[in-house]
Amino acid sequence: MEKFEKLTGIAAPMPLVNIDTDMIIPKVFLKTIKRSGLGVNLFDEMRYDRQGNENPDFVLNKPQYRDTQILVAGDNFGCGSSREHAPWAIADFGIKCVISTSFADIFYNNCFKNGILPIVMPQEVVDVLMKDAEKGSNARMVVDLEAQTVTTSDGESFPFEVDAFKKHCLLEGLDDIGLTMNNVKDIDAFEGKMAQERPWV
């Protein structure tokens, strides 16, 4: 996995609450057996009309937001299904960080596994960042995972919390399976014990 470097980029505002996984990537696009190439269909139903023409009012279609790397979103982002196609589509578009007041659990975890940093901020801070994001491409937001801060284009800085282990893995680009295999002896031991205690499993 790619390492998460300090990010300086365009932030797009999406104040809608409860943006669900069906909005992020409609299920007609889940029929792929690959991980890449979903970026063009990110937010498909909001982004295009039925004929596939771009909806000019949708934020990511506006010229100033075409290279968005950070999403500032309304509450409960990513609710709905466990499909990892949602973070794949987000990452494939080029978005590396999503900021909201809250995220759905599964989506939150899936982000880390795909090199995306989800940041939870209190409402007041999201309000400030949303305003900053509305400035468009002249404004660059800075996300510093190492220091755990988000800085607006005006230089106003806000700290955020992130699980230490998840942070480490994201910074180093570590692969989960490889990490777990370091503990394979413990898994063997657990299976041995279970064969005695709960043989019906």
Partner: protein, 469 residues
């Protein structure tokens, strides 16, 4: 004396294979269910890294999401190219990696969350995962069951463990008795109406109380199925005699001395007196009405006697979301919910595709006909549910009423297979999600219980089922 534990604490503690200093654990997984949509990339990852499935005997695969459910599927190949590729990929992966498999041609095939319990794979006290958010269904057995993403599917395939941190404990208690016409579906929707779709985020819910105890296993699965719609990681119900009775004799349930040993352990799986819950929600069973959803989030739920709410009655970002939902759903503020006309009825899904659900719907439909022009279909949750319903004469009731009688699969629960809503169509659906486009582009979904769906099919509008009872 050790500190009192919740049911979740007990199952968690029994599965920690490794713990890091910061509390991140490797949780051992007893059952891994796999379907065709969220697994191809995971198997591909294994193949690329030269890894094997660590415990194929604990891995169960079944195609469900995009298999056609029309009766001609037995004879033909899947017409949609991409759907066929996914199902074929699962066929191939199941064979290559040697996991348990129920192909489309097998009578035991069906929705993964119906097949697991039906075959006795799901047992009390287990950890169960699947690359599907409705894995919470299996919590009805007192199993810790939750949905995972595809990277995690790959992780479980390779290591039989999941990297997890413990969630908080939440108790949802439903006291008293339900009134006639009120079902498990109404309970679970009412709870989400109370907590909101993010109310359970960070928690594992234990459902308890008299109204939950009184439910059959089918009803309990319906309740737990939608724990995820309330944002919770999982929903649990402590196992009891009803659970043991259901499990006993299933193909993969323990037998003989192992059954006795298992039973002894299962009987210790309950929340100790005085155990701590971080959050408690209590609803009175007798106050729950038959409910429907009016909007595009499962939290947009109201008793059938209510009217479409004004967006201004909500707070914060929900005001705009409600506006958008009312527009998308094509409703008027103040409109009676019973005045909403329906053109499609779908009975099925992992929420309500079990035998008891079909019985409840058939009970209402007996001797009646659906409204002229109504498209109505019943899609049993598995081939075995279908066979049983035919044996009990339910299939005939549905067919005589004017319903289509389909083969097992996810069908119209999500628009991935040929069963979809067309633009502007409005469906009373027993599934679990009413998101925009969930049942088809610009399709409109009202979530209801099977009995309420049957009632709407007869009258042509959302209806209080108690008027037909």
């Amino acid at each position: 004396m050790t500190a009192p534990k919740t049911l979740y604490d007990k199952i968690w503690d029994a599965h920690v294979a490794h713990e890091q200093e910061d509390g991140t654990c490797l949780l051992y997984i007893d059952r891994h269910l796999v379907h065709e949509v969220t697994s191809p990339q995971a198997f591909e990852g294994l193949r690329m890294a030269g890894r094997k499935v660590r415990a194929p005997e604990k891995t169960i695969a079944v195609p469900d999401h995009n298999v056609p459910t029309t009766l001609d599927r037995v004879s033909g190949v899947i017409a949609n190219e991409e759907s066929r590729i996914q199902v074929e990929a699962l066929d191939k992966n199941a064979k290559e990696f040697g996991v348990n498999y129920y192909p489309v041609s097998d009578i035991r095939q069906g929705i993964v969350h119906i097949v697991g319990p039906e075959q006795g794979w799901t047992l009390p006290g287990m950890t169960v995962v699947c690359g599907d958010s409705h894995t919470a269904t299996h919590g009805a057995f007192g199993a810790l069951a939750h949905g995972i993403g595809t990277s995690e599917v790959e992780h479980v395939l390779a290591t039989q463990t999941l990297i997890q941190k413990k969630s908080k404990n939440m108790k949802v208690e439903i006291t008293g008795k339900l009134k006639p016409g009120v079902t498990a579906k109404d309970i679970t929707l009412a709870v989400i109406g109370e907590t909101g779709t993010a109310g359970g985020t960070g928690y594992v819910i234990e459902y308890c109380g008299e109204a939950i105890r009184d439910l059959s296993m089918e009803g309990r699965m319906t309740v737990c199925n939608m724990a995820i719609e309330g944002g919770a990681r999982a929903g649990l119900i402590a196992p009891d005699e009803v659970t043991f009775e259901y499990v006993k004799g299933r193909p993969h349930a323990p037998k003989g001395a192992q059954w006795e040993a298992a039973l002894n352990w299962w009987k210790t799986l309950y929340t100790d007196e005085g155990a701590h819950f971080d959050k408690v929600v209590t609803l009175k069973g007798e106050e729950i009405e038959p409910v429907v959803t009016w909007g595009t989030s499962p939290e947009d739920v109201l008793p059938i006697s209510a009217v479409v709410p004004a967006p201004e009655s909500f707070k914060g970002g929900k005001v705009d979301a409600a506006k958008r939902a009312i527009e998308y759903m094509g409703l008027e503020v103040g409109q009676k919910l019973t005045d909403i006309q329906i053109d499609t009825v779908f009975i099925g899904s992992c929420t309500n595709g079990r035998i008891e659900d079909l019985r409840a719907a058939a009970e209402i439909l007996k001797g009646k006909k659906i409204k002229d022009g109504m498209r109505a279909m019943v899609v049993p949750g598995s081939g075995l549910v279908r066979a049983q319903a035919e044996e009990e004469g339910l299939a005939d009731i549905f067919k005589e009423a004017g319903f289509e009688w389909r083969l097992a699969g996810c069908s119209m629960c999500l628009a991935m297979n040929p069963d979809q809503l067309a633009e502007g169509e409005r469906c009373a659906s027993t599934s679990n999600r009413n998101f925009e486009g969930r049942q088809g582009y610009k399709g409109r979904t009202h979530l209801v219980s099977p009995a309420m769906a049957a009632a709407a099919a007869i009258t042509g509008h959302l209806t209080d089922v108690r008027e037909l009872m």
